[in-house]
Amino acid sequence: MNPAHPPLAPGGPRLTPGEVQAAAFARAALGRRGLDEDQVREFLQRVEHELVQLLNERAALAQEVDRLRAAPPDGGPDDARPDDAHFQAVRILSQAQQTADLYVADAERYTREMAQEARQHRDAILTDAQTRAGRMMEEAHHRAAAMADQAARSAGSPPAAPPARPDTPSAGHPDGPAYPESPMEMTRVDGASLDADERRRMEREIAYLRTYSDVYRTHLRAYLEALLRNVDEWEKSEKENPEKPR
């Protein structure tokens, strides 16, 4: 059974005689005798709270009585203590102002938290995109390089020993295949082999580029589609829970 009474809160709902009368406690857990200790303790706490409040109110009333007794017996309520009315008004206005300040501060905190969350979200998305992009580029490069090697092989001559271009996986960005050749290298070869070399090189490069751009496009498309889906979901979730209170 649920506790028979709401939790304590300063200035919260007051305890009524009816509630005391109707107070009900669950049986203690198995193996223990009597009533649920927590519920009883909580209830007692609430009774105590109520008593404190009553005593305070009584003290305030006693003070008020003293003050009224001390005040001059005659004099209408209008001219007796004009200051009192003003101070009351000041107090009320001050309270209203404080309430307004509280709301403003709450709203500010809320927007700040929202903005910070959005910022973190943005950073996460960017980091994620960066990682994906890295992987995508690497894959495109590897596949294109493989394609290029294959093209070079199928161009007839035995594959050029090591890749003409140093691989730079650590930097992670794809270089083009060996290009441009240095003039020194160009002059080393004679006419016929230059043609063959040149052709092989070109084919290799074309294969590389073609594969690279294929892979790149595919990935780009997939990525953009994923982004669009993301936006759709976002929109949908916003429509489903408009103005969801905190």
Partner: protein, 460 residues
């Protein structure tokens, strides 16, 4: 008038803290309901200001040399709020009522007479300064936003044309109020030296949870109107000096320093100037392309950029820029003979020396479709750059100039690393922590305190 008695009484009253100001304003508004509209809805900031000003006045009540300039400034400052002579007695009455209320039994007729006399002097000095100011300048300037450039999701550059010329010295700032946020005034620095067409540039960074900056950064459009107060601020060029200049700008703290830079450029022989421009991440270096352009056109100027929250070196992600809005012809990556190092070139979106013309066509500069955090803005900023050429009338077409170096570390560290700044005039502006640490560093390096001019702003 017994200054000591006033101080003691105020100290006693001030113990009640915020309640004092709360009582004061409630009393003031009850007696004069028409004054309420001159204040914002939320008053907590206002109450802090009141208590601070009162404290300052009371503590200097016997030091007129200190007090009078403060009051004069206060009087001039209040003109833009629409405060006029007839408001002053109301404030005085509520002030005395408040002091009386919180003094309890220790309130005496003599004390009351002292306070009344003191308030007379205060309001007299304030009003006199306000009146004098009123002969030369309007209480505020209205202006129109003529261009807005969003450089990043949280940074915008605005150009405003005041209806009448607003005089200022480069480095100064004005309080700005938007019709969308009435009674909220925020100080913004002019980011340009005065121009023949009187337009003013402002660099605004969105403060999370702020009242005004989100409107400025995200919703203000060309054609919107705003109000500005008179220019204030002491972060201005020491005209008499011909020493070399060091400038250290954190984020939008760049604005006043850029204005001073433009002023220097107008000199016959500008001093050798080094500008450090720092941010947490590269994409927050929202004005780097312009600075690079400026440095390209002015041999006396060196620009060094610094990022504090990104690792040095060139990881893969760092070495690629955004595929969108790539800065055509701007700092082309991998330009042979480019003087910049790997890390430095990367901001401009180019892979380092390994970049070869044989890169796949889909990745004009080897850029992946995803944007690295540091890179999102190299595109943003670059497209801003293009727009700047139109709306912001930047000089000539962007000249590809050597991109500035990008250093890693806080501005204090980077500036310190660059060696000694003795013999320089130093101007520092940016977030509180950045300004403080930079000034500390310079002072520790033995730079004389009076060579450093600084200004800072709170950053949440």
């Amino acid at each position: 008038m017994d200054a000591q008695r006033l101080k003691e009484n105020f100290a006693q009253v001030a113990q009640h803290g915020d309640a004092v100001a709360l009582f004061f304003y409630s009393d003031l508004f009850l007696r004069n309901p028409h004054l309420r509209d001159m204040f914002p809805i939320g008053m907590s900031g206002q109450r802090d200001k009141l208590l601070r000003a009162l404290g300052q006045i009371v503590s200097n009540v016997d030091d007129l040399g200190e007090l009078v300039p403060f009051l004069q400034g206060l009087g001039r400052d209040h003109r833009k709020f629409g405060i006029i002579a007839e408001h002053y007695p109301h404030v005085g009455a509520s002030l005395v009522a408040t002091l009386r209320h919180y003094s309890g039994a220790s309130w005496t007729p003599e004390l009351e007479a002292d306070w009344v006399a003191a308030y007379d002097v205060v309001s007299h000095v304030m009003l006199e300064a306000a009146d004098q100011d009123g002969m030369a300048a309007p209480a505020w300037w209205s202006g129109e936003v003529v261009a807005v450039e969003r450089r990043r999701f949280d940074i915008a550059v605005l150009r405003v044309r005041p209806d009448q010329p607003l005089p200022y010295a480069p480095g100064q700032s004005v309080a700005v109020e938007l019709p969308q946020r009435l009674r909220h005034w925020r100080y913004l620095s002019m980011a340009n030296a005065p121009r023949p067409d009187n337009t003013l540039d402002f660099h605004v960074r969105l403060v999370d949870g702020g009242a005004v900056s989100p409107v400025l950064v995200r919703s203000v459009q060309a054609g919107d109107r705003l109000r500005m107060g008179a220019a204030v601020g002491t972060l201005v060029l020491d005209e008499s000096s011909h020493r070399d200049v060091l400038m250290v700008a954190g984020s939008t703290g760049l604005a006043p320093l850029k204005a001073i830079l433009e002023q220097l450029a107008q000199r016959q022989t500008p001093p050798r100037t080094t500008l450090f421009f720092g941010a947490r991440t590269r994409d927050a270096l929202y004005d780097l392309p312009h600075l690079a352009e400026l440095a390209g056109g002015h041999p006396w100027l060196t620009v060094v950029a610094a990022v504090s929250d990104e690792p040095g070196g060139g990881g893969f992600g760092m070495s690629f820029g955004s595929p969108f809005g790539a800065p055509e012809g701007y700092g082309p990556p991998g330009v042979p003979g480019s003087p910049v190092s790997f890390g430095a070139s990367s901001w401009f979106g180019g892979p380092p020396s390994g970049a070869s013309p044989g890169r796949p066509p889909g990745s004009a500069s080897g850029r992946p479709p995803g944007q690295a955090p540091g890179q999102a803005a190299s595109g943003d900023a670059a497209s801003g750059h293009a727009a700047f050429g139109d709306t912001f009338g930047s000089a000539a077409a962007p000249v590809p100039s050597a991109p500035p170096r990008i250093e890693h570390g806080t501005l204090a560290e980077v500036v310190g690393r660059y060696g000694s700044w003795h013999g320089h005039d130093i101007y520092v502006c940016g977030p509180d922590a950045m300004v403080e640490s930079t000034a500390d560093r310079l002072l520790r390096d033995g730079v004389p305190r009076d060579r450093i001019r600084l200004e800072s702003f709170a950053q949440r």
